[in-house]
Amino acid sequence: MTRLAVPKTYKLYIGGKFPRSESGRTYEVASKDGAFLANAALASRKDARDAVVAARAAVKGWAGTTAYNRGQVLYRIAEVLEGRRAQFADELVRTEGLPAVTAEAAVDLAIDRWVWYAGWADKYAQVLGNGNPVAGPYFNISVPEPTGVVAIVAPQAGPAHSLVGLISAVAPALVSGNTVVVVASQAAPLSAISLGEVLATSDVPGGVVNVLTGSPAEIAPWLASHADVNALDLVGAGALDWVQLQMDAAETLKRVLIPEDGADPAAPSLDRIAAFTETKTVWHTKGLL
């Protein structure tokens, strides 16, 4: 007996929920050789606005959890990802046309990166912070704190970029307690939406990661000029007019990371964690004895 296919509806991930685009628009996602795969939501500026509202609301809770707890939550994402390896590998095969072996290796790499960044959650402050020498009876301490809401244009095209590139860009921003609005790869958004499902079923509070699918050229300018976004990661915006985005971002003093080309954009590094932190320096008197 032939079974009726149950095609999956790919929606946005905003504030812990999976809404359709408020505009009602969708676009067709095709495989490498042009075959129809799915309809994905084509996010509008108002979806981006809603995502920023959700991300802003989540900052206090996420940044306020202890570093140890945040590490646990991030590690839990890797655990859930591990359980869905087959699905993610399958999506890479279907959307990007990768050989199965390559796709599985890419999923493993993505999971390992979550684990790597999860480990940093209660360690980066020791490395980036400092007890400063001062000529007086004071402690003078610098500590990194999360920047706030980070908007990310995920890597768009390239082998396995739709998963590995996405995770490499999102994970480091989360480590210090930022919340994220990410615009997924336009051509291959399925991994990003499935990642949203992973996040929704792990311990990440709603709104900490918000996934938009659609046209970065349409959405990115709204995120770049949005006064409630604190930082902008343009890692996957190489094909856009990213200098203009940088100028828009400057109007509201955002931190900006510029696009990266190459085989492994947003390769793991402590710098990517440091990029979305602000340094707070406190003076504290100490006894004269």
């Binding site: 606005r49 802003r56 709204w222 949005h226 006064a227 409630d228 109007e251 509201t252």
Partner: protein
């Protein structure tokens, strides 16, 4: 719905207190006559009311209309702080915000009034200085801001009439232009309508000033405690009959506050009263209106129910505190073309 009592048109002079009621009730104001009248009012079609309100909420207000609506919302706000922890400093900063809601934009209009507890009225008046002006008496929007005070054992209203009147007299003596009183919900729900009536009349008397002017009286029905739409309609009529200048939904201190259907219902009462007597009574939804989107729905409802005449500070107000910031953010978005954020408005 218009209630036709057969009473002829009344002279404009008989606007005060019980005079309004005598014509309608056909007799002295007693529990019996009030009950006969109020409980004779047809019941509210709750489903129809909710649907009508939901329908009014779907109107699309965009671009220049939206810009005008946002400015008008600001002009209609009673900027409110009613916390136990209110300090003179808090009231001064509230007044400063009312005068200059958006320091980055000099074209931003001022709010209609600030609303505080009675003991802080002198602080608010002092902080307003030359900008202190009663806004409740004449049509149109002016440059001044008036001072409203809550009184009569706000928010519960659980005190003797003597205490309530002393509360009102204090606030009026302090210079309040508007008094927000609460009705005795306990008496209303127990059916002692005349007690509620007499209290409103007495408070209205206490609002008189030696100079002949009087403080405007807003009567808070506290709809969240009246439970049914029928009760809200009866309480609205009761307040209007007793001489209220404004009827106000709620104190903001209980879980259920202003909603669009309840405000629509009160606007219908006000509209009917206007048709009946030619007098205009104001409406003030308060509590729970936090976004520009919600506030615009109220503007649509007012214009469609009572008429555009009512979209003026002497006939319609929003009792709100956090609404102003959201309106300012929307305003900044409209002006600049990009989304604004909470870092660009003050923390209250």
């Amino acid at each position: 719905m218009t209630i036709d009592t057969g009473a002829g048109p009344r002279s404009a002079a008989t606007t005060r207190g019980a005079a309004r009621a005598l014509d309608l009730l056909d007799g002295p104001v007693t529990d019996t006559t009030l009950r006969r009248y109020l409980e004779g009012i047809p019941g509210v079609d709750a489903v129809g009311l909710d649907q009508r309100a939901a329908g009014l909420g779907t109107r699309s207000i965009k671009t220049t209309s939206k810009a005008m609506a946002l400015d008008r919302i600001i002009e209609l706000i009673d900027l409110t702080t009613l916390e136990g922890a209110d300090t003179p400093g808090k009231v001064r900063s509230l007044v400063a915000k009312g005068i200059t809601p958006d320091p980055s934009d000099p074209t931003c209009p001022r709010v209609a009034a600030v609303c505080v507890y009675g003991d802080l009225v002198p602080v608010a008046i002092d902080a307003l200085g030359a900008l202190h002006a009663p806004r409740s008496r004449e049509a149109g929007t002016g440059p001044g801001i008036s001072v409203a005070a809550v009184a009569t054992a706000f928010p519960s209203g659980r005190a003797s009439l003597r205490v309530k009147l002393a509360d009102v007299e204090d606030a009026v003596a302090g210079g309040a232009d508007e008094i927000d009183m609460v009705i005795d919900r306990g008496a209303f729900l127990a059916g002692r309508y005349s007690q509620v009536f007499e209290e409103i009349v007495a408070v209205k008397e206490a609002c008189r000033r030696p100079d002949g002017e009087d403080a405007h009286l807003k009567v808070i029905l506290e709809v969240g405690e009246l439970v049914t739409y029928d009760n809200v309609r009866r309480a609205s009529w009761l307040a209007v009959l007793a001489g209220a200048d404004f009827i106000k939904t709620s104190t903001g201190k209980v879980t259920s506050n202003a909603t669009l259907p309840v405000t629509l219902l009160m606007l219908e009462v006000v509209r009917d009263w206007h048709r009946l007597t030619g007098e205009k009574v104001g409406v003030k939804p308060a509590g729970g209106i936090r976004t520009s989107k919600d506030a615009i729905k109220y503007l649509v409802t007012v214009a469609e129910t009572a008429g555009e005449d009512w979209l003026q500070p002497h006939l319609f107000r929003f009792g709100a505190s956090s609404l102003l910031n959201d309106v300012l953010l929307q305003r900044q978005k409209t002006k600049s073309g990009h989304y604004s954020g909470a870092d660009y408005v003050t923390i209250d």
